[in-house]
Protein backbone atom coordinates (compact mmCIF):
# COMPACT_ATOMS: atom_id res chain seq x y z
CA UNK A 1 0.00 0.00 0.00
CA UNK A 2 2.78 2.41 0.95
CA UNK A 3 4.57 1.38 -2.22
CA UNK A 4 1.44 2.13 -4.17
CA UNK A 5 1.30 5.66 -2.80
CA UNK A 6 5.01 6.31 -3.16
CA UNK A 7 5.59 4.96 -6.62
CA UNK A 8 2.22 5.27 -8.29
CA UNK A 9 -0.19 7.69 -6.66
CA UNK A 10 2.08 10.70 -6.07
CA UNK A 11 3.82 10.50 -9.47
CA UNK A 12 0.38 10.10 -11.05
CA UNK A 13 -0.85 13.29 -9.40
CA UNK A 14 2.32 15.12 -10.42
CA UNK A 15 1.87 14.04 -14.03
CA UNK A 16 -1.79 14.96 -13.77
CA UNK A 17 -0.93 18.44 -12.57
CA UNK A 18 1.19 19.02 -15.68
CA UNK A 19 -1.66 17.83 -17.89
CA UNK A 20 -4.09 19.97 -15.92
CA UNK A 21 -2.14 23.19 -16.44
CA UNK A 22 -1.82 22.53 -20.16
CA UNK A 23 -5.41 21.44 -20.56
CA UNK A 24 -6.81 24.63 -19.01
CA UNK A 25 -5.32 26.69 -21.84
CA UNK A 26 -6.51 24.28 -24.51
CA UNK A 27 -9.98 24.21 -23.03
CA UNK A 28 -10.25 28.01 -22.78
CA UNK A 29 -8.93 28.57 -26.31
CA UNK A 30 -11.33 25.91 -27.56
CA UNK A 31 -14.17 27.61 -25.70
CA UNK A 32 -13.45 31.18 -26.74
CA UNK A 33 -11.73 30.93 -30.13
CA UNK A 34 -13.49 27.69 -31.09
CA UNK A 35 -10.49 25.87 -32.49
CA UNK A 36 -8.14 23.22 -31.18
CA UNK A 37 -4.78 24.82 -30.62
CA UNK A 38 -2.21 22.31 -31.78
CA UNK A 39 0.68 24.58 -30.88
CA UNK A 40 -0.14 24.55 -27.18
CA UNK A 41 2.41 21.88 -26.37
CA UNK A 42 5.08 23.86 -28.14
CA UNK A 43 4.17 27.02 -26.24
CA UNK A 44 4.87 24.88 -23.19
CA UNK A 45 8.26 23.85 -24.59
CA UNK A 46 9.12 27.48 -25.27
CA UNK A 47 8.26 28.40 -21.68
CA UNK A 48 10.56 25.68 -20.40
CA UNK A 49 13.45 26.83 -22.62
CA UNK A 50 12.94 30.49 -21.73
CA UNK A 51 13.18 29.56 -18.07
CA UNK A 52 16.22 27.42 -18.79
CA UNK A 53 18.04 30.38 -20.33
CA UNK A 54 17.31 32.53 -17.30
CA UNK A 55 18.57 29.72 -15.04
CA UNK A 56 21.79 29.59 -17.05
CA UNK A 57 22.19 33.36 -17.05
CA UNK A 58 21.47 34.10 -13.39
CA UNK A 59 21.90 30.74 -11.73
CA UNK A 60 18.54 30.99 -10.02
CA UNK A 61 16.18 28.23 -9.02
CA UNK A 62 13.95 27.28 -11.98
CA UNK A 63 10.82 28.47 -10.18
CA UNK A 64 12.38 31.87 -9.58
CA UNK A 65 13.32 32.11 -13.23
CA UNK A 66 9.83 31.03 -14.31
CA UNK A 67 8.65 34.60 -15.09
CA UNK A 68 11.14 34.76 -17.97
CA UNK A 69 9.71 31.60 -19.48
CA UNK A 70 6.19 32.88 -18.98
CA UNK A 71 7.03 36.18 -20.66
CA UNK A 72 8.50 34.36 -23.65
CA UNK A 73 5.54 31.99 -23.98
CA UNK A 74 2.99 34.80 -23.64
CA UNK A 75 4.81 36.90 -26.24
CA UNK A 76 4.92 33.96 -28.64
CA UNK A 77 1.22 33.22 -28.17
CA UNK A 78 0.22 36.85 -28.71
CA UNK A 79 2.41 37.22 -31.80
CA UNK A 80 1.08 33.95 -33.24
CA UNK A 81 -2.47 35.06 -32.62
CA UNK A 82 -1.98 38.49 -34.17
CA UNK A 83 -0.02 37.26 -37.18
CA UNK A 84 -1.48 33.84 -37.93
CA UNK A 85 -4.80 33.17 -36.22
CA UNK A 86 -6.54 36.54 -36.37
CA UNK A 87 -6.54 36.81 -40.20
CA UNK A 88 -8.31 33.43 -40.34
CA UNK A 89 -10.93 34.14 -37.69
CA UNK A 90 -13.84 34.59 -40.10
CA UNK A 91 -13.12 31.30 -41.89
CA UNK A 92 -14.13 27.79 -40.86
CA UNK A 93 -12.15 26.92 -37.74
CA UNK A 94 -10.31 24.08 -39.46
CA UNK A 95 -8.10 26.69 -41.14
CA UNK A 96 -7.01 27.96 -37.74
CA UNK A 97 -6.29 24.35 -36.79
CA UNK A 98 -4.03 23.96 -39.83
CA UNK A 99 -2.38 27.29 -39.00
CA UNK A 100 -1.76 26.18 -35.42
CA UNK A 101 -0.22 22.98 -36.76
CA UNK A 102 2.17 25.25 -38.66
CA UNK A 103 2.83 27.44 -35.63
CA UNK A 104 3.66 24.31 -33.62
CA UNK A 105 6.33 23.42 -36.12
CA UNK A 106 7.65 26.98 -36.30
CA UNK A 107 8.06 27.22 -32.53
CA UNK A 108 9.73 23.84 -32.40
CA UNK A 109 12.20 24.70 -35.15
CA UNK A 110 13.03 28.00 -33.45
CA UNK A 111 13.67 26.16 -30.20
CA UNK A 112 15.98 23.74 -32.00
CA UNK A 113 17.66 26.60 -33.82
CA UNK A 114 18.46 28.62 -30.72
CA UNK A 115 18.87 25.98 -28.04
CA UNK A 116 19.99 23.01 -30.14
CA UNK A 117 18.32 19.63 -30.48
CA UNK A 118 19.98 17.92 -27.50
CA UNK A 119 18.24 17.27 -24.17
CA UNK A 120 18.88 19.72 -21.34
CA UNK A 121 18.36 19.52 -17.61
CA UNK A 122 17.62 22.25 -15.09
CA UNK A 123 19.73 20.61 -12.46
CA UNK A 124 21.78 17.47 -12.74
CA UNK A 125 22.36 14.89 -10.05
CA UNK A 126 20.12 12.65 -8.01
CA UNK A 127 17.88 14.30 -5.47
CA UNK A 128 17.12 12.44 -2.27
CA UNK A 129 13.41 11.90 -1.78
CA UNK A 130 11.55 13.57 1.02
CA UNK A 131 10.70 11.15 3.81
CA UNK A 132 7.46 11.86 5.64
CA UNK A 133 6.40 10.04 8.81
CA UNK A 134 9.16 7.46 8.13
CA UNK A 135 6.97 5.77 5.53
CA UNK A 136 6.22 8.04 2.60
CA UNK A 137 9.16 8.64 0.33
CA UNK A 138 8.13 11.23 -2.21
CA UNK A 139 9.99 13.52 -4.52
CA UNK A 140 9.76 17.14 -3.41
CA UNK A 141 9.40 18.07 -7.10
CA UNK A 142 6.18 16.09 -7.29
CA UNK A 143 4.77 17.79 -4.21
CA UNK A 144 5.78 21.16 -5.64
CA UNK A 145 4.05 20.43 -8.93
CA UNK A 146 0.83 19.35 -7.25
CA UNK A 147 0.88 22.33 -4.87
CA UNK A 148 1.57 24.87 -7.61
CA UNK A 149 -1.19 23.47 -9.80
CA UNK A 150 -3.75 23.53 -7.03
CA UNK A 151 -2.81 27.10 -6.12
CA UNK A 152 -3.01 28.24 -9.75
CA UNK A 153 -6.36 26.50 -10.20
CA UNK A 154 -7.75 28.32 -7.17
CA UNK A 155 -6.39 31.65 -8.42
CA UNK A 156 -7.89 31.03 -11.84
CA UNK A 157 -11.23 30.18 -10.34
CA UNK A 158 -11.17 33.41 -8.37
CA UNK A 159 -10.18 35.36 -11.47
CA UNK A 160 -12.92 33.88 -13.64
CA UNK A 161 -15.68 34.35 -11.11
CA UNK A 162 -14.71 37.62 -9.43
CA UNK A 163 -12.98 39.92 -11.88
CA UNK A 164 -14.52 41.80 -14.77
CA UNK A 165 -12.18 40.33 -17.40
CA UNK A 166 -12.71 36.85 -16.08
CA UNK A 167 -16.45 37.15 -16.16
CA UNK A 168 -16.44 38.53 -19.69
CA UNK A 169 -14.29 35.55 -20.71
CA UNK A 170 -16.91 33.18 -19.39
CA UNK A 171 -19.62 35.17 -21.12
CA UNK A 172 -17.87 35.01 -24.50
CA UNK A 173 -17.26 31.31 -24.02
CA UNK A 174 -20.93 30.65 -23.27
CA UNK A 175 -22.46 32.79 -26.00
CA UNK A 176 -20.25 34.98 -28.21
CA UNK A 177 -23.13 36.76 -29.95
CA UNK A 178 -24.86 37.71 -26.74
CA UNK A 179 -21.53 38.84 -25.29
CA UNK A 180 -20.79 41.16 -28.18
CA UNK A 181 -24.32 42.61 -28.03
CA UNK A 182 -23.71 43.28 -24.37
CA UNK A 183 -20.71 45.36 -25.41
CA UNK A 184 -17.85 43.06 -24.48
CA UNK A 185 -14.82 43.46 -26.67
CA UNK A 186 -14.01 40.06 -28.12
CA UNK A 187 -10.40 40.94 -28.98
CA UNK A 188 -9.68 41.95 -25.40
CA UNK A 189 -11.14 38.70 -24.15
CA UNK A 190 -9.10 36.76 -26.70
CA UNK A 191 -5.91 38.50 -25.57
CA UNK A 192 -6.64 37.62 -21.95
CA UNK A 193 -7.23 34.01 -23.00
CA UNK A 194 -3.86 33.76 -24.68
CA UNK A 195 -2.08 35.36 -21.72
CA UNK A 196 -3.63 32.96 -19.23
CA UNK A 197 -3.25 29.93 -21.48
CA UNK A 198 0.41 30.63 -22.24
CA UNK A 199 1.21 31.42 -18.58
CA UNK A 200 -0.17 28.11 -17.41
CA UNK A 201 1.45 26.25 -20.30
CA UNK A 202 4.88 27.73 -19.53
CA UNK A 203 4.49 26.75 -15.87
CA UNK A 204 3.54 23.23 -16.89
CA UNK A 205 6.55 23.11 -19.20
CA UNK A 206 8.92 24.07 -16.41
CA UNK A 207 7.37 21.55 -14.02
CA UNK A 208 7.68 18.83 -16.65
CA UNK A 209 11.25 19.88 -17.41
CA UNK A 210 12.24 19.85 -13.73
CA UNK A 211 10.80 16.38 -13.30
CA UNK A 212 12.63 14.86 -16.26
CA UNK A 213 14.44 16.90 -18.87
CA UNK A 214 13.86 19.69 -21.34
CA UNK A 215 13.80 18.82 -25.02
CA UNK A 216 12.26 20.22 -28.16
CA UNK A 217 9.51 17.62 -28.50
CA UNK A 218 8.43 17.60 -24.84
CA UNK A 219 5.33 19.69 -25.38
CA UNK A 220 4.25 17.99 -28.56
CA UNK A 221 4.48 14.62 -26.82
CA UNK A 222 2.19 15.85 -24.03
CA UNK A 223 -0.35 17.35 -26.41
CA UNK A 224 -2.54 14.28 -26.83
CA UNK A 225 -2.97 13.76 -23.11
CA UNK A 226 -3.75 17.45 -22.62
CA UNK A 227 -6.43 17.35 -25.30
CA UNK A 228 -7.88 14.25 -23.71
CA UNK A 229 -7.96 16.08 -20.35
CA UNK A 230 -9.66 19.12 -21.84
CA UNK A 231 -12.30 17.00 -23.55
CA UNK A 232 -12.82 14.85 -20.47
CA UNK A 233 -13.44 17.94 -18.37
CA UNK A 234 -15.70 19.58 -20.92
CA UNK A 235 -14.63 22.17 -23.48
CA UNK A 236 -14.62 25.72 -22.14
CA UNK A 237 -14.69 24.62 -18.49
CA UNK A 238 -11.29 25.44 -16.95
CA UNK A 239 -12.03 23.67 -13.68
CA UNK A 240 -13.22 20.69 -15.65
CA UNK A 241 -9.91 20.68 -17.48
CA UNK A 242 -8.02 20.65 -14.17
CA UNK A 243 -10.07 17.70 -12.98
CA UNK A 244 -9.65 16.03 -16.36
CA UNK A 245 -5.89 16.49 -16.22
CA UNK A 246 -5.61 14.85 -12.81
CA UNK A 247 -7.91 12.03 -13.91
CA UNK A 248 -5.94 11.30 -17.08
CA UNK A 249 -2.69 11.42 -15.10
CA UNK A 250 -4.12 8.99 -12.57
CA UNK A 251 -5.44 6.61 -15.21
CA UNK A 252 -2.18 6.64 -17.18
CA UNK A 253 0.06 5.96 -14.19
CA UNK A 254 -2.21 3.64 -12.25
CA UNK A 255 -2.77 1.46 -15.29
CA UNK A 256 0.87 0.41 -15.02
CA UNK A 257 0.33 -0.86 -11.46
CA UNK A 258 0.34 -4.66 -11.25
CA UNK A 259 -3.35 -4.91 -10.33
CA UNK A 260 -3.64 -8.47 -11.60
CA UNK A 261 -0.66 -10.75 -10.98
CA UNK A 262 2.81 -9.25 -10.90
CA UNK A 263 2.97 -7.74 -14.39
CA UNK A 264 1.92 -4.15 -15.07
CA UNK A 265 -1.68 -4.09 -16.21
CA UNK A 266 -0.75 -2.00 -19.24
CA UNK A 267 2.82 -1.91 -20.54
CA UNK A 268 4.30 1.50 -19.61
CA UNK A 269 5.25 2.05 -23.27
CA UNK A 270 1.59 2.22 -24.18
CA UNK A 271 0.51 4.65 -21.47
CA UNK A 272 -0.24 7.42 -23.93
CA UNK A 273 -2.49 5.11 -25.93
CA UNK A 274 -4.75 5.07 -22.87
CA UNK A 275 -5.30 8.83 -22.99
CA UNK A 276 -6.28 8.42 -26.60
CA UNK A 277 -8.70 5.60 -25.81
CA UNK A 278 -10.35 7.67 -23.09
CA UNK A 279 -10.62 10.61 -25.46
CA UNK A 280 -12.35 8.58 -28.16
CA UNK A 281 -14.74 7.06 -25.61
CA UNK A 282 -15.61 10.51 -24.27
CA UNK A 283 -16.21 11.87 -27.76
CA UNK A 284 -18.51 9.02 -28.62
CA UNK A 285 -20.37 8.58 -25.35
CA UNK A 286 -20.40 11.96 -23.66
CA UNK A 287 -19.04 14.63 -26.01
CA UNK A 288 -19.90 17.44 -23.59
CA UNK A 289 -17.42 16.01 -21.07
CA UNK A 290 -17.85 15.58 -17.35
CA UNK A 291 -18.71 19.22 -16.69
CA UNK A 292 -21.20 19.85 -19.49
CA UNK A 293 -18.82 21.77 -21.68
CA UNK A 294 -19.69 23.20 -25.05
CA UNK A 295 -20.22 21.04 -28.11
CA UNK A 296 -18.30 21.94 -31.20
Amino acid sequence: MIQFINFYLIPALALGSIYALGAVGISMIFGILRFSHFAHGDVMTLGAYGTLSAVWAFGWHPLAALPFGIALAVAAALVADRAFYRPLRKLPTIYAVIASFGVALMIRSLVQLFWGPQNQVFKSGVRAPLVLFDTFRVSSLHLQAIGITLALALALHWFLSRTRTGRSMRAVSDDPDLASIAGLEPERVIRATWIIGATLAATAGVLAGMDTQVHANMGWNLLLAMFASALLGGIGKPMGAVAGGFLIGLIEELSTYPWIGSEPLVSPSYKSALAFGIMVLILLLRPQGLMRGRLL
Binding site: F84, L88, A99, R108, L110, L224, S269, A275, V280
Partner: protein
Amino acid sequence: MDLYGLTQYLVSFLIAGGIYALLCLALNVQWGYGGLFNAGVAGFFAVGAYTSAILTAAPATGHVGGFALPIPLGLLAAALVAGATGWAVARICVRLKSDYLAIASIGIAEILRLSIINEQWLTNGSLGIANIPRPLEAWITGEASSWVFVVVVWSVVGASWWFCNRLYDSPWGRALRAIRDNEEAAHAVGKDVNALRLQTYVIGCALMGVAGALSAHHFKFLSPAASDPTLVTFLVWVMLVAGGSGNNRGAVTGALVVWGIWSLTEILTSRLPPDWTARSSYLRMFLVGLLLQFVLQRYRRGLVPERSPPLRFAELPAGLDAINETSRIHNKPRSP
Protein backbone atom coordinates in the same frame (compact mmCIF):
# COMPACT_ATOMS: atom_id res chain seq x y z
CA MET B 1 28.36 20.59 -59.49
CA ASP B 2 29.37 18.26 -62.32
CA LEU B 3 27.07 16.37 -64.63
CA TYR B 4 27.31 13.13 -62.67
CA GLY B 5 26.28 14.82 -59.45
CA LEU B 6 23.49 16.57 -61.25
CA THR B 7 21.95 13.37 -62.62
CA GLN B 8 22.30 11.74 -59.22
CA TYR B 9 20.50 14.66 -57.71
CA LEU B 10 17.83 14.51 -60.39
CA VAL B 11 17.21 10.82 -59.73
CA SER B 12 16.79 11.24 -56.00
CA PHE B 13 14.64 14.32 -56.57
CA LEU B 14 12.35 12.40 -58.89
CA ILE B 15 12.03 9.44 -56.55
CA ALA B 16 11.32 11.47 -53.43
CA GLY B 17 9.16 13.89 -55.40
CA GLY B 18 7.12 10.97 -56.72
CA ILE B 19 6.63 9.53 -53.25
CA TYR B 20 5.52 12.94 -51.99
CA ALA B 21 3.23 13.33 -55.01
CA LEU B 22 1.59 10.03 -54.08
CA LEU B 23 1.18 11.15 -50.47
CA CYS B 24 -0.36 14.41 -51.68
CA LEU B 25 -2.81 12.58 -53.92
CA ALA B 26 -3.74 10.39 -50.96
CA LEU B 27 -4.23 13.32 -48.62
CA ASN B 28 -6.15 15.10 -51.34
CA VAL B 29 -8.65 12.24 -51.48
CA GLN B 30 -9.19 12.62 -47.74
CA TRP B 31 -9.02 16.38 -47.30
CA GLY B 32 -9.59 17.76 -50.78
CA TYR B 33 -12.48 15.50 -51.76
CA GLY B 34 -13.93 14.58 -48.41
CA GLY B 35 -12.89 17.41 -46.07
CA LEU B 36 -11.44 14.92 -43.58
CA PHE B 37 -8.52 16.28 -41.59
CA ASN B 38 -5.76 13.70 -41.20
CA ALA B 39 -2.76 14.74 -39.13
CA GLY B 40 -1.56 11.15 -38.92
CA VAL B 41 -0.19 10.70 -42.44
CA ALA B 42 3.11 9.48 -41.03
CA GLY B 43 1.36 6.63 -39.20
CA PHE B 44 -0.26 5.13 -42.28
CA PHE B 45 2.91 5.74 -44.26
CA ALA B 46 4.82 3.72 -41.67
CA VAL B 47 2.26 0.90 -41.68
CA GLY B 48 2.65 0.54 -45.45
CA ALA B 49 6.43 0.75 -45.27
CA TYR B 50 6.69 -1.96 -42.61
CA THR B 51 4.18 -4.24 -44.32
CA SER B 52 6.06 -4.25 -47.58
CA ALA B 53 9.47 -4.40 -45.88
CA ILE B 54 8.52 -7.43 -43.77
CA LEU B 55 7.03 -9.29 -46.71
CA THR B 56 9.76 -8.65 -49.27
CA ALA B 57 12.99 -8.44 -47.26
CA ALA B 58 15.52 -11.24 -47.17
CA PRO B 59 15.23 -13.63 -44.21
CA ALA B 60 16.55 -12.19 -40.97
CA THR B 61 16.79 -13.34 -37.41
CA GLY B 62 15.30 -11.49 -34.49
CA HIS B 63 12.00 -10.53 -35.99
CA VAL B 64 9.16 -11.85 -38.11
CA GLY B 65 9.78 -11.37 -41.77
CA GLY B 66 12.12 -12.26 -44.52
CA PHE B 67 9.47 -13.84 -46.69
CA ALA B 68 11.29 -12.55 -49.77
CA LEU B 69 8.02 -12.15 -51.67
CA PRO B 70 7.88 -10.23 -54.96
CA ILE B 71 7.70 -6.44 -54.63
CA PRO B 72 4.31 -5.95 -56.35
CA LEU B 73 2.82 -8.25 -53.71
CA GLY B 74 4.48 -6.12 -51.05
CA LEU B 75 2.95 -2.95 -52.48
CA LEU B 76 -0.46 -4.55 -52.68
CA ALA B 77 -0.21 -5.81 -49.11
CA ALA B 78 0.92 -2.35 -48.00
CA ALA B 79 -2.21 -0.85 -49.52
CA LEU B 80 -4.39 -3.53 -47.92
CA VAL B 81 -2.91 -3.32 -44.44
CA ALA B 82 -2.76 0.49 -44.38
CA GLY B 83 -6.30 0.60 -45.74
CA ALA B 84 -7.47 -1.85 -43.09
CA THR B 85 -5.80 0.24 -40.39
CA GLY B 86 -7.54 3.28 -41.81
CA TRP B 87 -10.82 1.38 -41.82
CA ALA B 88 -10.47 0.47 -38.15
CA VAL B 89 -9.74 4.09 -37.30
CA ALA B 90 -12.46 5.51 -39.50
CA ARG B 91 -15.11 3.12 -38.15
CA ILE B 92 -14.78 4.90 -34.83
CA CYS B 93 -13.57 8.39 -35.65
CA VAL B 94 -15.08 9.40 -38.95
CA ARG B 95 -18.29 10.65 -37.42
CA LEU B 96 -16.42 13.08 -35.19
CA LYS B 97 -16.43 16.77 -36.06
CA SER B 98 -13.41 18.15 -37.93
CA ASP B 99 -11.39 19.37 -34.94
CA TYR B 100 -11.93 16.18 -33.01
CA LEU B 101 -10.99 14.08 -36.02
CA ALA B 102 -7.76 16.07 -36.26
CA ILE B 103 -6.86 15.35 -32.64
CA ALA B 104 -7.83 11.71 -33.03
CA SER B 105 -5.61 11.33 -36.09
CA ILE B 106 -2.62 12.65 -34.14
CA GLY B 107 -3.38 10.10 -31.46
CA ILE B 108 -3.50 7.27 -33.98
CA ALA B 109 -0.18 8.26 -35.49
CA GLU B 110 1.29 8.34 -31.98
CA ILE B 111 -0.03 4.86 -31.16
CA LEU B 112 1.28 3.46 -34.44
CA ARG B 113 4.67 5.05 -33.72
CA LEU B 114 4.75 3.53 -30.22
CA SER B 115 3.85 0.09 -31.52
CA ILE B 116 6.54 0.23 -34.19
CA ILE B 117 9.17 1.10 -31.60
CA ASN B 118 7.98 -1.39 -28.98
CA GLU B 119 6.87 -4.45 -30.92
CA GLN B 120 10.37 -5.68 -31.61
CA TRP B 121 9.27 -9.15 -32.67
CA LEU B 122 7.53 -7.56 -35.64
CA THR B 123 9.59 -4.53 -36.59
CA ASN B 124 12.99 -5.13 -34.99
CA GLY B 125 12.42 -1.94 -32.95
CA SER B 126 14.83 0.89 -33.42
CA LEU B 127 17.39 -1.38 -35.11
CA GLY B 128 15.21 -1.43 -38.17
CA ILE B 129 14.79 -3.79 -41.08
CA ALA B 130 17.63 -4.17 -43.57
CA ASN B 131 18.01 -5.79 -46.99
CA ILE B 132 14.78 -4.53 -48.45
CA PRO B 133 14.94 -5.25 -52.19
CA ARG B 134 14.52 -2.83 -55.07
CA PRO B 135 12.62 -3.84 -58.19
CA LEU B 136 14.57 -5.81 -60.83
CA GLU B 137 17.66 -5.75 -58.67
CA ALA B 138 18.80 -9.15 -59.90
CA TRP B 139 19.11 -7.94 -63.49
CA ILE B 140 19.86 -4.26 -63.32
CA THR B 141 22.39 -2.96 -60.85
CA GLY B 142 24.20 0.23 -59.99
CA GLU B 143 23.20 3.52 -61.51
CA ALA B 144 20.54 2.09 -63.78
CA SER B 145 18.63 0.54 -60.89
CA SER B 146 17.82 4.01 -59.61
CA TRP B 147 16.39 4.92 -62.99
CA VAL B 148 14.30 1.77 -62.93
CA PHE B 149 13.00 2.85 -59.57
CA VAL B 150 12.14 6.31 -60.92
CA VAL B 151 10.02 4.61 -63.57
CA VAL B 152 8.38 2.36 -60.99
CA VAL B 153 7.55 5.25 -58.66
CA TRP B 154 6.16 7.43 -61.40
CA SER B 155 4.09 4.64 -62.91
CA VAL B 156 2.52 4.12 -59.50
CA VAL B 157 1.93 7.89 -59.30
CA GLY B 158 0.45 7.83 -62.80
CA ALA B 159 -1.86 4.96 -61.99
CA SER B 160 -2.99 6.64 -58.77
CA TRP B 161 -3.46 9.92 -60.64
CA TRP B 162 -5.72 8.20 -63.15
CA PHE B 163 -7.58 6.42 -60.35
CA CYS B 164 -8.05 9.63 -58.33
CA ASN B 165 -9.27 11.55 -61.37
CA ARG B 166 -11.81 8.85 -62.10
CA LEU B 167 -12.92 9.05 -58.48
CA TYR B 168 -13.25 12.81 -58.69
CA ASP B 169 -15.47 12.73 -61.77
CA SER B 170 -17.56 9.81 -60.61
CA PRO B 171 -20.96 10.18 -58.92
CA TRP B 172 -19.18 8.98 -55.82
CA GLY B 173 -16.75 11.91 -55.99
CA ARG B 174 -19.56 14.35 -56.57
CA ALA B 175 -21.49 13.09 -53.58
CA LEU B 176 -18.32 13.38 -51.51
CA ARG B 177 -17.72 16.99 -52.50
CA ALA B 178 -21.33 17.73 -51.75
CA ILE B 179 -20.78 16.40 -48.23
CA ARG B 180 -17.59 18.41 -47.87
CA ASP B 181 -19.31 21.64 -48.89
CA ASN B 182 -22.61 21.13 -47.11
CA GLU B 183 -23.03 18.09 -44.96
CA GLU B 184 -26.65 18.71 -44.01
CA ALA B 185 -27.80 19.25 -47.57
CA ALA B 186 -26.06 16.11 -48.79
CA HIS B 187 -27.57 14.15 -45.93
CA ALA B 188 -31.00 15.58 -46.72
CA VAL B 189 -30.90 14.31 -50.30
CA GLY B 190 -30.14 10.86 -49.01
CA LYS B 191 -26.36 10.50 -49.18
CA ASP B 192 -24.93 8.20 -46.55
CA VAL B 193 -22.47 10.69 -45.07
CA ASN B 194 -20.61 8.35 -42.74
CA ALA B 195 -20.27 5.54 -45.26
CA LEU B 196 -18.86 7.84 -47.94
CA ARG B 197 -16.44 9.38 -45.47
CA LEU B 198 -15.30 5.97 -44.33
CA GLN B 199 -14.62 4.99 -47.92
CA THR B 200 -12.53 8.10 -48.66
CA TYR B 201 -10.56 7.65 -45.49
CA VAL B 202 -9.75 4.05 -46.39
CA ILE B 203 -8.78 4.88 -49.99
CA GLY B 204 -6.53 7.72 -48.81
CA CYS B 205 -4.86 5.53 -46.18
CA ALA B 206 -4.27 2.73 -48.68
CA LEU B 207 -2.48 5.15 -51.02
CA MET B 208 -0.40 6.46 -48.11
CA GLY B 209 0.55 2.87 -47.39
CA VAL B 210 1.77 2.40 -50.95
CA ALA B 211 3.83 5.58 -50.67
CA GLY B 212 5.39 4.23 -47.48
CA ALA B 213 6.19 0.93 -49.17
CA LEU B 214 7.88 2.72 -52.07
CA SER B 215 10.01 4.74 -49.70
CA ALA B 216 11.08 1.55 -47.89
CA HIS B 217 12.16 0.03 -51.21
CA HIS B 218 13.93 3.23 -52.13
CA PHE B 219 16.09 3.41 -49.01
CA LYS B 220 16.39 -0.39 -48.72
CA PHE B 221 16.44 0.05 -44.97
CA LEU B 222 13.63 0.94 -42.61
CA SER B 223 13.73 2.22 -39.05
CA PRO B 224 11.19 4.15 -36.97
CA ALA B 225 13.01 7.37 -37.87
CA ALA B 226 11.86 7.00 -41.49
CA SER B 227 8.36 8.13 -40.64
CA ASP B 228 9.28 11.37 -38.92
CA PRO B 229 5.97 13.25 -38.55
CA THR B 230 7.47 16.65 -39.35
CA LEU B 231 8.93 15.42 -42.63
CA VAL B 232 6.04 13.22 -43.64
CA THR B 233 2.81 14.65 -42.24
CA PHE B 234 3.69 18.27 -42.09
CA LEU B 235 5.47 18.67 -45.40
CA VAL B 236 2.66 16.86 -47.18
CA TRP B 237 0.11 19.22 -45.69
CA VAL B 238 2.09 22.24 -46.81
CA MET B 239 2.39 20.71 -50.29
CA LEU B 240 -1.31 20.04 -50.60
CA VAL B 241 -2.44 23.41 -49.26
CA ALA B 242 0.11 25.26 -51.40
CA GLY B 243 -0.70 23.26 -54.51
CA GLY B 244 -4.42 23.62 -54.18
CA SER B 245 -6.48 21.04 -52.36
CA GLY B 246 -9.43 19.46 -54.10
CA ASN B 247 -7.72 18.85 -57.40
CA ASN B 248 -5.09 16.32 -58.31
CA ARG B 249 -3.10 18.57 -60.61
CA GLY B 250 -2.70 20.97 -57.69
CA ALA B 251 -1.67 18.15 -55.37
CA VAL B 252 1.12 16.93 -57.66
CA THR B 253 2.24 20.48 -58.52
CA GLY B 254 2.39 21.37 -54.84
CA ALA B 255 4.39 18.24 -54.08
CA LEU B 256 6.97 18.95 -56.76
CA VAL B 257 7.24 22.70 -56.07
CA VAL B 258 7.57 22.40 -52.31
CA TRP B 259 9.90 19.43 -52.59
CA GLY B 260 11.94 21.42 -55.13
CA ILE B 261 12.26 24.36 -52.74
CA TRP B 262 13.03 22.01 -49.86
CA SER B 263 15.80 20.11 -51.62
CA LEU B 264 17.29 23.14 -53.38
CA THR B 265 17.70 24.96 -50.09
CA GLU B 266 19.27 21.78 -48.74
CA ILE B 267 21.94 21.94 -51.46
CA LEU B 268 22.58 25.59 -50.68
CA THR B 269 22.92 25.07 -46.94
CA SER B 270 25.04 21.93 -47.29
CA ARG B 271 27.94 24.17 -48.30
CA LEU B 272 27.90 25.94 -44.95
CA PRO B 273 30.15 24.80 -42.11
CA PRO B 274 28.83 21.60 -40.42
CA ASP B 275 27.53 23.37 -37.33
CA TRP B 276 25.53 25.73 -39.48
CA THR B 277 24.22 22.97 -41.72
CA ALA B 278 22.57 21.28 -38.76
CA ARG B 279 21.08 24.53 -37.59
CA SER B 280 19.94 25.68 -41.01
CA SER B 281 17.70 22.62 -41.34
CA TYR B 282 15.66 24.02 -38.46
CA LEU B 283 15.59 27.40 -40.11
CA ARG B 284 14.31 25.77 -43.29
CA MET B 285 11.60 24.03 -41.30
CA PHE B 286 10.63 27.37 -39.80
CA LEU B 287 10.40 28.91 -43.26
CA VAL B 288 8.21 26.05 -44.48
CA GLY B 289 5.88 26.80 -41.55
CA LEU B 290 5.88 30.45 -42.59
CA LEU B 291 5.11 29.44 -46.17
CA LEU B 292 2.09 27.51 -44.93
CA GLN B 293 0.82 30.58 -43.05
CA PHE B 294 1.34 32.76 -46.10
CA VAL B 295 -0.56 30.36 -48.35
CA LEU B 296 -3.37 30.01 -45.80
CA GLN B 297 -3.84 33.77 -45.65
CA ARG B 298 -3.20 34.84 -49.25
CA TYR B 299 -3.58 31.88 -51.60
CA ARG B 300 -6.04 29.67 -49.82
CA ARG B 301 -7.04 28.07 -53.11
CA GLY B 302 -3.45 27.18 -53.91
CA LEU B 303 -1.26 27.38 -57.00
CA VAL B 304 -3.76 25.41 -59.10
CA PRO B 305 -7.21 26.13 -57.68
CA GLU B 306 -9.96 23.57 -57.76
CA ARG B 307 -12.46 24.00 -60.59
CA SER B 308 -15.76 22.20 -60.79
CA PRO B 309 -15.85 19.80 -63.71
CA PRO B 310 -17.82 21.26 -66.65
CA LEU B 311 -21.37 20.22 -67.21
CA ARG B 312 -21.65 17.58 -69.89
CA PHE B 313 -24.76 16.91 -71.92
CA ALA B 314 -23.92 13.94 -74.01
CA GLU B 315 -27.33 13.17 -75.49
CA LEU B 316 -28.12 16.70 -76.61
CA PRO B 317 -27.00 18.06 -79.97
CA ALA B 318 -23.87 20.14 -79.57
CA GLY B 319 -24.31 23.88 -79.53
CA LEU B 320 -24.40 26.74 -77.13
CA ASP B 321 -28.15 27.25 -77.33
CA ALA B 322 -28.94 23.70 -76.38
CA ILE B 323 -26.68 23.89 -73.34
CA ASN B 324 -28.10 27.23 -72.32
CA GLU B 325 -31.58 25.86 -72.67
CA THR B 326 -30.84 22.84 -70.52
CA SER B 327 -29.11 24.78 -67.80
CA ARG B 328 -32.04 27.22 -67.78
CA ILE B 329 -34.42 24.35 -67.25
CA HIS B 330 -32.15 22.84 -64.63
CA ASN B 331 -31.78 26.09 -62.76
CA LYS B 332 -35.46 26.96 -62.79
CA PRO B 333 -36.63 27.54 -59.23
CA ARG B 334 -38.82 24.69 -58.15
CA SER B 335 -41.64 24.85 -55.71
CA PRO B 336 -41.05 22.56 -52.78
